[in-house]
């Protein structure tokens, strides 16, 4: 493999934001995640929880809740607005003000006809869902106190609202409050504070389950308005509840960072009378868990420690594999760093600004993608609403930036930006693929996630969230071919400088190589598919986010994910299932002759901490951008004080 000088870069202070809400869409198996800075991310459960889309947020946004209505995603926040998202184009479709003050909760009914929002002024507002918009229908009876949580009965006839110290059941026909359930306050010091009912769930048999700030999960009978059972789950608050589709399992998220599971079982085997029994506790978070989801085979949770954790419920999964592993998604599945190879510059993308060794800030809107040209002369970035291109001059350590003002109006926002290798072309992708200088446009359906340009400037590859990869011929300005659709989306791709092979890494850790000129998979790729990849490679739970090549050795491919970086040598044989996968250290200890027998194509290196970016520069030096998780944890909000034995 050779030796490299490594530049370890740790000054990229990437700080993810906390997860505030989760919502599951069963038909398409998508999980929507809302973060506190207003970003909405879509994860695909079927595709190894790959982060398919990221819709950046705004400065003022304070998203509190998410709701799916069919294929449409709505969110509501403390700024009093309901936002519908355009998932094809990765942006917001429109916002509508609910005129009720800050909105605490949003929920849709099972029939998909109405949305209910709970507001600060004590009203539950009903909105009718039309084809292209939502329209305000009416208010339910106004109550004293703010409405913190809502849940619709599966039949759509009743809504339960959790407020301060009290739970109200509304009849949606008349709009009046039918029942009032009083929640008692905690013991001790919490007696003086009102009890906040953070979350409620309405089951089809009329049971209401509520989680409140006294740390109790209470089961109520809505017909008689009485308390059935009360469980003290934690000393701190119970922040969120989620019930499975078949209503037999309940997930409870607490301030401690624990997720507790309740199941609807009969105490004596064989008997008919069932009740909710506390079964398991999962301790996968360090800070408050603010959102849980009971997806059928797993419990998904997210909170203030910014990690998206998937804990599979192994009693519902038959075989052991990727689906049964505990997943912890910390870094985004896209690149936040671009590198100008020839000029030796690094561009860091933050939500609010870009850093290119000089501070360069934007303002209100968050940046969705950015790129720097290989020669270091151009910077481009795009927010949700605008696109900016800047010309850089680096003279004697002074960087001056000139804005290019006359941009064609078509360039409103972009999902991906890519410079060609000679910096003469800028490729901007949104739903339309646009070439700038000279201009011409092609259309495609879904938003494009990834772009890769070839070194000679002839080819451009684009991948979108429908798992389609298209290759365009830039000389003729026409689409060249489409790569056969793989079951999993592409997480990173690049075109080889000399052979013009498109190398793709998928979310399920499969590697494919496609020859652009011959319009077919290469022999090496077929060999990999036949041979199969090593199990240790396939069991990695973070996707590869960057692929580059070695200028000195055309057979080398450099790629990395969060915990390792790897150089694949295409001349060496592929590893067997039984052979040692991480064999670099053993090889080093062997004599020269022995090494050739045992070495295989995958050379893995796990020395570095959590990686954001790895690039091989011209002079055989390696630039490694690390972001240790401990630094992220040190900047999070305060966790609760848990007393552990022997500390």
């Amino acid at each position: 493999m050779g030796e490299f000088n490594v530049h370890r870069v740790r000054f990229f202070d990437y700080m993810p934001s906390a997860i505030r809400a989760l919502a599951f869409q069963p038909q398409r198996e998508r999980i929507a995640v809302a973060r506190t800075d207003g970003t909405v991310e879509i994860f695909n459960r079927a595709d190894c929880f790959f982060q398919e889309k990221v819709i950046p947020g705004r400065q003022q946004a304070a998203t509190e809740a998410l709701a799916w209505v069919g294929d449409r995603l709505f969110s509501a926040g403390l700024n009093g607005e309901i936002i519908e998202y355009d998932l094809d184009n990765n942006k917001t479709k429109y916002t509508i003000d609910a005129y009720g003050g800050p909105i605490w909760s949003i929920t849709s009914n099972k029939q998909g006809t109405h949305l209910a929002v709970g507001c600060e002024d004590g009203t539950v507002k009903l909105f009718e869902v039309h084809e292209d918009r939502i329209q305000f229908e009416r208010n339910l009876a106004k109550q004293k106190g703010r409405i913190i949580s809502l849940s619709w009965h599966p039949s759509g006839s009743k809504i339960v609202a959790g407020m301060m110290d009290v739970i109200h059941i509304f009849d949606t026909e008349t709009g009046q409050s039918v029942q009032r359930l009083l929640v008692d306050r905690g013991v001790g010091t919490s007696r003086s504070q009102e009890c906040v009912v953070w979350s409620v769930v309405y089951l089809s048999d009329g049971t209401i389950i509520s989680g409140d700030s006294a740390g109790k999960v209470k089961m109520w009978d809505s017909r008689t308005g009485t308390l059935i059972k009360s469980h003290q789950v934690t000393k701190w608050d119970v922040l969120t509840l989620s019930v499975s589709q078949d209503e037999t399992s309940l997930a409870v998220g607490t301030s401690e960072g624990h997720v507790v599971q309740f199941q609807f079982l009969s105490m004596v085997l064989g008997q008919e009378d069932k009740e909710w029994v506390r079964t398991r506790t999962f301790k996968n978070h360090t800070h408050d868990v603010r959102a849980v989801l009971e997806v059928n085979t797993a419990i998904v949770s997210g909170g203030m420690d910014t990690q998206f954790v998937v804990r599979p419920l192994l009693d519902k999964i038959d075989e052991r594999g990727q689906a049964s592993a505990l997943r912890n998604i910390q870094f985004p599945h896209r690149r936040l760093v671009s590198c100008a190879r020839k000029a030796g510059l690094l561009l860091f993308q933050y939500p609010g600004h870009l850093e290119l060794w000089r501070y360069y800030s934007n303002g209100e809107e968050h940046i969705c993608c950015s790129a720097v040209s290989p020669c270091g002369g151009w910077i481009a970035y795009s927010t949700v609403a605008s696109f900016r291109l800047y010309r850089l001059h680096c003279e004697n350590n002074n960087v001056s930036i000139i804005k290019v003002s006359k941009l064609p109006k078509v360039l409103s926002s972009a999902n991906q930006i890519c410079f060609s290798s000679d910096s003469s072309h800028l490729f901007v992708a949104s739903t339309l693929l646009i070439f700038y200088l000279p201009s011409s446009s092609q259309g495609s359906g879904q938003a494009i996630n990834l772009l890769a340009a070839s070194e000679d400037g002839k080819w451009l590859a684009s991948a979108n969230s429908d798992h389609e990869v298209q290759i365009y011929n830039l000389n003729k300005m026409k689409p060249h071919c489409t790569v056969p659709v793989h079951s999993s989306g592409v997480s990173a791709m690049a075109i080889h400088p000399t052979t013009n092979n498109l190398f793709m890494v998928h979310a399920d850790q499969q590697l494919t190589e496609y020859s652009v000129e011959k319009k077919q998979y290469t022999d090496w790729s077929r060999q990999v598919q036949r041979h199969g990849l090593h199990s240790l490679w396939l069991e990695r739970d973070t996707p590869v986010t960057n692929v580059t090549f070695n200028p000195k050795n055309p057979a080398h491919i450099v790629l990395h994910d969060m915990y390792m970086f790897c150089i694949i040598d295409q001349t060496l044989p592929l590893p067997d299932q039984r052979s040692q996968f991480y064999n670099q250290l053993t090889l080093r200890s062997m004599p020269e002759k022995e090494r050739k027998k045992h070495s295989h194509a995958f050379k893995m290196c796990k020395i570095f901490k959590e990686l954001l970016f790895v690039e091989l520069m011209e002079d055989q030096s390696l630039v490694v951008v690390e972001r240790p998780l401990m630094d992220i944890t040190a900047q999070l909000p305060a966790p609760v004080r848990q007393k552990k034995f022997a500390t």
Binding site: Q60, L78, G80, W236
Partner: protein, 292 residues
Amino acid sequence: MSTVRQKTEEQSQQGQEKSSADQAGLIMCEYERSEQRTAESTAESPPTLIGPDMDSMERPANPIHHILKHKTTSNMAKLQRGDPQLKSEKQVKFGREISESSEDEGPEEVAFEESKSVALKSAEEALRARRREKELLKEKRRKKQLFFQEQKKKSLLSEALLEEFDTVPQKKKKLSVEKEESKNEEKEENMQEIKSQKASRSLQGNCSVMRVKDKAADESLQQSAMDFIRSRLYGPGKDRTTNAELLSLEKKRGANQGAAVQFVNKKLGAEQKAKAEKCNKRFIRKQKLIPS
């Protein structure tokens, strides 16, 4: 003597007969009374007391007790003789003992007078107190009435000032605390209140009138909502610790055990180090360890 007194008091209060020979004996030893007195006080035949001459002795300090005890001895004597009227008489007697004895003897009358005066005084005191309270309440009501009148005058005045100030340029000011707590429906009321408050303030100092804009109100609502969440999760009374402590505990009990993060990671321990530095400097200066 005191024990005997208590016993006889009990007897008189309860109205029970005690025909114990001990008691009679005790009384006879301790008390002397002339036969004449007993003859005067009671209608029945006086008992014969064995004891030293009464006249030579001093009068006992408390005449009432003395009398009561004496009465019981006479009753006991009657009992011995088998007087049938004794019981009923005794009961009646114990009810009216004080008043009967007051007829005859000086000290008894004085005693009654005293208690009468005491009772009268307390009644008068009560009356006086009630009168005082009534007057106080009246005063309070009067003050309140005055205050409300003045407030009313003030508010009227402020409207007039506002009309004046219509032409004056308006400066921006911070919203008052009451504004943050208001809801949308009460916005207008609050706006008027604030206007009046600010106008009244402007009378006093160099303040100017400001109009509350709608956007500012929305932002403040959002801010108050966020403050509510923050106070509920991170406010006082919630048992929270620092991230540094969390990481240090993990290091203490984890697989690769090491020192607390404040000592390892320079950024985390920076504040504490700075504090320690300051403390050290202050200590050195105070103790004058370094000769200056």
